[in-house]
Symmetry: C2
Subunit: 385 residues, 2 copies
């Protein structure tokens, strides 16, 4: 195992019906919050009203900032930061999924900074302070509710870049499985793919070959994710499966799976970000296309762990390691196809993609690195055609 | 899954050679620390000198408080608290295994309290403040380095009681696998048994039957623990296995395995504490005796999960659930016997134990509960004879 530091100060408040606690939880912490939301689904399903009622009962003022999009944009975040400053809020309450949380993180640091918010994302500046962030998660997938990361897309440059700062750990996040009951199955499938990819990124790109506690932990996450998904495809109202997928999503990307993994590139994500920034596809579809491609590209390097993964997660049996590795990749293709998700760029509607440009965008995102080359990225994209 | 709140503020600093960082890590946090140690092994193997050198280089004063025993006692902790007060330390640096950390937790809260330290453990009082606690862990097993729990034995009453307060989370814990290289194999076996028991307590006593992410996580921990143990029995100098067991120990008892498990009794631990307080056996031997006994007692109730556990952890195959459950219990007996650990009270040298008294001590420790009865405890102890 490689050296690591791990600290995660976010408090998780998990359980059915717990969104009602929001007002009392904020009492004594915030007087007036910026309530950030997406495109309105929380208003249709009653969650917004429940939250607002709890805020009012506890004397917490709020101003709403709505309209956050699935790939949150720099301009909208900048405007949100200006609004938060104007309104002199002392807390930001993100109500939504990963995009709402990510943009709220940008607003939280942007509101306390006089320069351009993008400075942080392109590493020109470090935030010195932020407005405390509170989260009510209604769409589990990205893990943003218990990590310091956020992704913002700069519409002008096509850059979809992530940034992490300890200032962006939410103070607390409420995970109320009941709020996720109305999520359509296709969103749940997308979430499950994002969760499994988060779980596996370190597993299939780390330099440390001997951190088996992490390997077993990753396999556990993917198994739970798949079990929940199978149940939800059959019955989207399965509240227990909803609860399991919600907690699995958080555990998959709160830093634990990276502890001890050493330096590595989160290969599918760094290629997917430019892909969905340039072509308008969903994050999960991009990941589903890239997973079998990157596994195929690194098949020899990770043959042993592909075989072990296939045995432990998909229940494969056999002795021939190379054959098991191949079968593991096939299992992913079969799984994604069965779920109606594309497993190639052409299936995703992307014909003749500009591979060189996409790969250069990945390299730009990564900055200086010796872990992957533009050639590697191009080859993975070719395998995804 | 049941409702839960989870927050763990302890920072983990993990990696070979990292004990050397202690001085610089304390700089700005503490001026003078109480350096707590056990019975002297850290002086023989050079760890103490490395730590002291780093403290001196960084201008951190220290006073030593040594002689903490494997089952730390109330009197020694009380004297330590008085000494910490006298010396006006502003930090406590625990250097050792779980016992040193547990007693240091007692000292940290005891030094800031005018009454009797035992008041906390028997729930007569709540601590209002504490001296910040820093840990250098040299013997992984109890998980105390990343949780708010501590166990102290009151020699006068034979009570071995635990207490938890958020004040007792260490600020940081250094986990340096190299410091564990000299641990004798029999200690490593004991540690591995403690770790697997921590992992399994919720799995085999929870009321929630549908939190499968936790189940997979527990199986992952036990598998990693067993893999590390097998390697260390063959080669105690296997540094990678040492690293894996160290991190597994922390993950097994930092609260994660209990998230969503609902109300449950940590059955093996609550019976073992009186057992090792009354009869002078090691904690791990007590656990090894109790695990097959409690599994046998609850076999019908947990038949399905015993079968699943056997398949996922021991690689058992078959369809007959009852038979698989039986075989899982046998696997534990075989494992413990192979490791030279007792699987019955008589093998542990305890003949004609006072079952009624032991069970009453367990019930006293638990306080009011509807989860287990004195009769249940007596029956488990009888199955352990």
């Amino acid at each position: 195992m490689k050296s690591f530091n791990y600290k995660n100060p976010t408090e998780i408040i998990f359980g059915n019906g717990r969104i009602k606690e929001i007002g009392s939880l904020l009492k004594g912490r915030a007087k007036k919050v910026l309530l950030t939301t997406g495109k309105g689904s929380v208003k249709k399903n009653g969650i917004f009203d429940t939250v607002v009622k709890s805020l009012e009962e506890n004397g917490i003022e709020y101003v709403e900032y709505s309209g956050i999009k699935p790939n949150p944009t720099l301009k909208h975040a900048q405007a949100g930061a200006a609004f938060a400053r104007e309104e002199k809020v002392d807390g930001i309450l993100a109500l939504g999924g990963g995009s709402v949380v990510d943009e709220s993180k940008a607003i939280a640091i942007g509101a306390c900074y006089k320069g351009d918010l993008w400075d942080f994302y392109c590493h020109k500046a470090e935030p010195k302070k932020s407005i405390p962030l509170y989260v009510i998660l209604t769409v589990p997938a990205t893990g943003s509710e218990m990590n310091p990361n956020g992704v913002i897309t700069n519409e002008e440059t096509n850059d979809k870049w992530g940034y992490r700062t300890p200032l962006n750990y939410p103070v607390f996040s409420i995970l109320d499985p009941e709020t996720t009951l109305s999520i359509p199955v296709e969103y749940t499938i997308a979430a499950a793919i994002d969760i499994m990819t988060h779980s596996m990124e370190a597993y299939f790109s780390k330099t440390d070959e001997d951190s088996f506690i992490l390997d077993r932990f990753v396999e556990a996450l993917v198994k739970a994710d798949l079990e929940a998904l199978e149940r939800l495809v059959k019955n989207p109202k399965d509240l227990e499966a909803r609860a399991n997928i919600m907690w699995t999503a958080t555990l998959a990307w709160n830093g634990l799976v990276n502890c001890g993994a050493g330096r590595h590139v989160i290969v599918n994500h760094v290629i997917e970000h430019p892909l969905s920034a340039v072509y308008d596809i969903t994050h999960a579809n991009g990941l589903a296309v890239l997973i079998p491609a990157s596994m195929t590209y690194y098949k020899e390097k990770y043959q042993k762990r592909l075989a072990v993964f296939g045995k432990n997660v998909f229940g494969l049996s056999g002795e021939d390691e190379a054959e098991l590795a191949d079968r593991t990749i096939i299992e992913f293709r079969v799984l994604f196809s069965r779920l109606g998700v594309p497993v190639s760029l052409s299936e995703a509607g992307i014909n003749n993609p500009d591979i060189e440009y996409l790969a250069s965008q990945t390299m730009k995102l990564l900055g200086e690195t010796d872990l992957i080359t533009q050639k590697d990225v191009e080859e993975i994209l070719k395998l995804a055609l």
